[in-house]
C-alpha cells in the first residue's frame, strides 16, 4: 500500500465528519482571490477577536501575493489550496480552511531530497461558519477535523508531486507546546534545535529552534492512510 501510495496519485479528502454523525461533502480547490477576499472579510475578523489563536492578526491578502511571488522568484513552486463546503444548488463554495504551500524546498531530514513546506495554514472557527449571511451552517453540520484535513492537503500534494509525502512546517511560537504536540500527534517529527536547516535563506534568517516539524516518508504514508475513510 505504501509503495502504491508513492507511485499512484492520492485523492484529496472528499468528506468531513460532523457532530451529527453524518459526514458532509467537502472539496479542495486551488485557492483563488475570491476565497481570500471572503476569508479576510468574514473569517479573519472572528479569528482576530481570539488572542489565543496562532493565526490571530494574519493577513492573507498580503501573504498570498507574497508567497506566490516569493515562491516563484525563489523557484519554490508555490501553491495555495482552499478546503471548503460546496453548495451546488446555490453555486456557492464556503471556504473552511486555507493552506499556502511551497512545493519544492529541501527536506529537513534529508537535505538532498525535496519536500513540501506548509507556509500558512488556517482553519475557520465555528462561529465564522454559523454566521454566514444568507447561508449559515448549522452547528451539527460544521465540518470537523479541519486541521487534520488541511495538513493532509499538504501531504497529498507532496505524494502527488513526487515528494513522497515529505512535508515540513514551522509551528508558530504563539501556538506554544500545544501546537507542537498537535503536530506530533499527527505523526510529525520535531527537528532538534541543534540540527541545521538545509542551505537557503531560512538557515540564516530563521534557524532551527525546536519548532520545525516534518514528516518522514513512512510517517507521511501512515498519516495519509489515517484519512483514507474521508477520501
Amino acid at each position: 500500500m505504501g509503495i502504491l501510495r508513492k507511485r499512484r496519485g492520492v485523492p484529496f479528502a472528499r468528506r468531513a465528519p460532523t457532530e451529527s454523525g453524518q459526514d458532509v461533502p467537502i472539496h479542495i480547490a486551488k485557492m483563488t482571490a475570491p476565497h481570500v477576499m471572503w476569508w479576510h472579510s468574514h473569517v479573519q475578523p472572528i479569528i482576530d477577536r481570539d488572542p489565543n489563536r496562532a493565526d490571530n492578526g494574519w493577513n492573507w491578502m498580503l501573504y498570498v501575493p507574497f508567497a506566490e511571488l516569493g515562491g516563484r522568484v525563489l523557484m519554490r513552486k508555490p501553491v495555495g489550496y482552499t478546503v471548503g463546503l460546496s453548495d451546488p444548488e446555490g453555486d456557492r463554495f464556503v471556504p473552511c480552511a486555507l493552506v499556502q504551500l511551497l512545493g519544492r524546498v529541501p527536506a529537513l531530514d534529508e537535505h538532498d531530497r525535496e519536500s513540501v513546506f506548509v507556509w500558512f495554514l488556517s482553519t475557520a472557527p465555528d462561529e465564522a461558519l454559523t454566521t454566514i449571511e444568507d447561508h449559515p451552517i448549522s452547528e451539527d453540520q460544521i465540518p470537523r477535523r479541519l486541521g487534520s484535513i488541511a495538513l493532509d492537503v499538504a501531504v497529498t500534494h507532496s505524494l502527488n508531486e513526487r515528494r513522497f509525502g515529505r512535508t515540513a512546517l514551522y509551528a508558530d511560537e504563539r501556538g506554544g507546546d500545544v501546537l507542537l504536540q498537535w503536530y506530533q500527534r499527527r505523526g510529525m517529527t520535531i527537528l532538534p534545535d541543534e540540527d541545521k536547516l538545509p542551505r537557503g535563506p531560512r538557515r540564516l534568517l530563521k534557524p532551527s529552534d525546536g519548532r520545525y516539524c516534518y514528516y518522514t516518508v513512512p510517517a507521511a504514508i501512515e498519516a495519509s492512510k489515517e484519512l483514507d475513510p474521508l477520501r
Binding site: G9, P45, N59, M61, G84
Partner: protein, 102 residues
C-alpha cells in the same frame, strides 16, 4: 509568527511610495504593483520580508476588512483532480494493450 504586517507596509512605502498606514493600499501594491517591478526589486522585497519572519513589531496597523465580500462561486472553484502518476499510467497502458490484443 509570520512576518509582521508592519514589515509589509514598510516595504510598500520604501519600494512603492505607498502610505504605510493605509493597509488597503499596501495590499493592492503587493497584489498589483509589485509583480510588475524588476526582478531585482522583487527579490529585495522578498529578502527584506523573509528577514523579518517571526519578528515582533513595536507598532500596530489596524486591519481593514472588506465589507460583505460575497461567497465564492462553486463554478469558479473546481475540485482539484488527482494527477496520474507512474502506476496509473502503467495500468492505463496495460488496459489499452489488452484491448488492442482482443
Amino acid at each position: 509568527m509570520p512576518t509582521p504586517t508592519t514589515a509589509f507596509a514598510d516595504a510598500a512605502a520604501e519600494y512603492g511610495g505607498v502610505d504605510p498606514d493605509d493597509i488597503e493600499a499596501v495590499q493592492r501594491w503587493f497584489a498589483e504593483e509589485l509583480p510588475t517591478l524588476s526582478i531585482q526589486i522583487i527579490e529585495q522585497v522578498i529578502r527584506d520580508l523573509l528577514a523579518q519572519d517571526g519578528a515582533v513589531s513595536g507598532r500596530e496597523i489596524i486591519p481593514v476588512y472588506p465589507e460583505r465580500a460575497p461567497l465564492p462561486s462553486l463554478g469558479a472553484s473546481p475540485a482539484v483532480t488527482t494527477p496520474l502518476l507512474a502506476e496509473d499510467w502503467r495500468r492505463l497502458l496495460r488496459r489499452a494493450l489488452a484491448r488492442l490484443r482482443r
